[in-house]
């Protein structure tokens, strides 16, 4: 399976990554060689094999419905690129 320029552009858009135009051929080649690596899986018969999502056969633990967090807005927003009146600012959201 080989990827072309439009594949790379489509995936990069889905992943919201700006990729320089001149880098696209190199990415396409890299990604194609990685996908080629994946091809060796396809010959393996996995019929009836249960997919393994977690290595341990554990189940979800539950948390008591008790408030444990207090307002830390000032601390938590110190890393924010832009805030005003306690809100995170972003370029206008159009709905």
């Amino acid at each position: 399976m080989s990827l072309d320029r439009s594949d790379v552009e489509r995936i990069a858009h889905l992943a919201r990554l700006q990729i320089n135009d001149q880098d696209i051929p190199a990415y396409a080649e890299n990604l194609s060689s990685i996908l080629h690596l994946f091809d060796q899986m396809q010959s393996i018969d996995t019929t009836g094999v249960e997919p393994l999502a977690h290595p341990l056969d554990a189940v979800q633990r539950l948390r008591a419905d008790v408030v444990t967090e207090s307002n830390q807005r000032e601390l938590l927003q110190r890393n924010a690129p832009a805030t005003e009146n306690g809100l995170f600012l972003v370029p206008k959201v159009i709905e």
């Binding site: 992943a15 990554l17 994946f38 554990a58 995170f88």
Partner: protein, 483 residues
């Protein structure tokens, strides 16, 4: 002082041969003096380290000290440390001061450890050489023209170059074991879920596991004792009780059954490495162990399975880096899409972008079954291989890496050949089993690592097996020239 192990330093502190402040200051001086050669640290925390050391000395004076009080360590820079930059080796987080401590960091702090600094790494733990760091590559103390391995390269270098007595690392596909092997130190990747992932910036959630990187197995036992255990903040953290890792170190190995997977001694393995590993196995036989060949037939499939699953999880885990709440934000975004694309395009390095693209592709509509689901099925086959093998033997041994440390830049433009370096380590993360790498020889002046693999939650056994080897040999005491 710099040649003392953690265990020896702990004794020195208890006997008041030196104070934590003296020890800490000595290490800080050494880091400032020598690290420009190795680039093993991203941040050095002089002020905080000396405060922690003073507090530790007060605890020791009050007789209120634990086994770890006053011992200096360094954390891989993907563990969140409150008030200290936590960069993950990325431009994306170059300005990120964590507002909280990772569970693992809190545990060390509570135990009285001193944090010397944060160590260099491949960006977001993606890499096998530490060349993918925004802060430049770390250098292997055995040959500074060579890579230290990765992604916990800075942590391995710091221990190897005596810039920290011990460090923490994380291992998603070999990122503790492989740099430990290439730098001639001891590293253990515990069972998945043995150590909390809370506050460890995620690469691939179902594979990531934190562990210690040390000079000796005994030190690793001391570290793991602090790190391991259930955490209510991490749903995937195991609830199994934590044994006393020190207590089992001296169990004799007579009767130990060792399995050698024939797939680990295949043609891609450097013959010099094979020879060193065989020598180590003979040493174990002298210690009373028996050896048999086993098979892990799906080993070669661990590369495709891993390089689908890990990037897929990563593509989602790294979506939170969007320039909105923290981290790098591009200048003057013209709209929302521009904010996302440029912040991420400029904030992430090329290997991270490559893996995000691969993962995004593998999960995208129409490909999920062929890639992601298939890889999860292969993952089960690989796990089953190990379960079968570990019914026949107590531990599995083999090389940690197919080659010794390669030259900086040698594989930078060939991601697939870089991925092949992980052939012996990846399958363990897929299976979730614990694995260890200890120094077991050298080839052309470069260290060789022996990988020891055990059953789920058999860390105590691995540490015991490694410790007995280290009592009988002195590969772990070898020091790079010029240190």
């Amino acid at each position: 002082m710099f040649d003392l192990t953690l265990a020896e330093l702990a004794k020195g502190l208890q006997k008041r041969e030196f104070s934590s402040a003296e020890l800490t200051q000595a290490y800080l001086n050494r880091i400032h003096d020598k690290d420009s050669l190795y680039n093993s640290y991203i941040s050095v925390c002089d002020e905080q380290a000396l405060q922690q050391a003073a507090a530790a000395d007060a605890r020791i004076a009050q007789g209120d000290a634990g086994p770890f009080t006053g011992l200096p360590i360094a954390h891989k820079d993907l563990f969140c440390t409150k008030g200290i930059k936590t960069s993950c080796g990325s431009r994306m987080l170059d300005n990120f001061i964590s507002p909280y401590d990772a569970t693992l960091v809190s545990r060390f702090n509570e135990a009285g450890a001193v944090t010397l600094g944060k160590t260099n790494m491949d960006e977001f733990a993606m890499g096998s050489s530490t060349e993918n760091s925004y802060y430049g590559p770390s250098r292997n103390p055995w040959d500074t023209e060579r890579v230290p391995g990765g992604s916990s390269g800075g942590s391995a270098v710091a221990v190897s170059a005596r810039l920290a007595p011990a460090t923490t690392g994380s291992d998603t596909g070999g990122s503790i074991r492989q740099p430990a092997a290439l730098c001639g130190i001891t590293g253990i990747k515990p069972t998945y879920g043995r150590v909390s992932r809370y506050g460890m910036v995620a690469y691939a959630s179902s594979l990531d596991q934190a562990g210690p990187m040390t000079r000796t197995a005994e030190d690793a036992a001391m570290m793991l004792q602090v790190m391991a255990g259930a955490d209510p903040l991490d749903s995937t953290c195991a609830e199994q009780p934590v044994p006393d890792y020190m207590a089992g170190l001296n169990t004799p190995l007579a009767g130990l059954k060792i399995g050698l997977p024939k797939e680990f001694f295949a043609e891609e393995l450097d013959p010099a490495i094979a020879e060193q590993v065989q020598n180590a196995i003979r040493e174990y036989e002298k210690l009373g162990a028996s050896v048999q060949e086993i098979s892990l037939p799906n080993t070669r499939l661990s590369i495709p399975a891993y390089y689908i699953l890990a990037p897929a999880e990563a593509s989602s885990n790294l979506s939170r880096f969007d320039g909105v709440r923290y981290g790098y934000r591009c200048t003057d975004p013209k709209d929302l899409e521009d904010l996302y694309k440029r912040s991420r395009g400029e904030g992430f390095g090329s290997e991270v972008q490559r893996r995000i693209l691969v993962g995004t592709y593998a999960l995208s509509e129409g490909y999920y079954d062929a890639y992601y689901r298939k890889a999860q099925q292969i993952r089960r086959l690989i796990q089953q291989d190990y379960i079968n093998a570990l019914q026949q033997v107590d531990v599995i041994m083999g090389p940690t890496t197919p080659h010794p440390a390669f030259r900086i830049g040698e594989k930078s433009n060939d991601p697939v050949s870089m991925y092949m370096e992980d052939i012996f380590t990846l399958s363990l993360n897929l299976a979730g089993l614990p694995g260890m790498s200890i120094p077991c020889g050298q080839t052309a002046g470069l260290p060789v690592g022996l990988q020891i693999i055990g059953n789920y939650f058999a860390e105590a056994k691995l540490l015991n097996v490694a410790h007995q080897f280290q009592l009988a040999t002195d590969w772990h005491k070898q020091t790079p020239a010029g240190i």
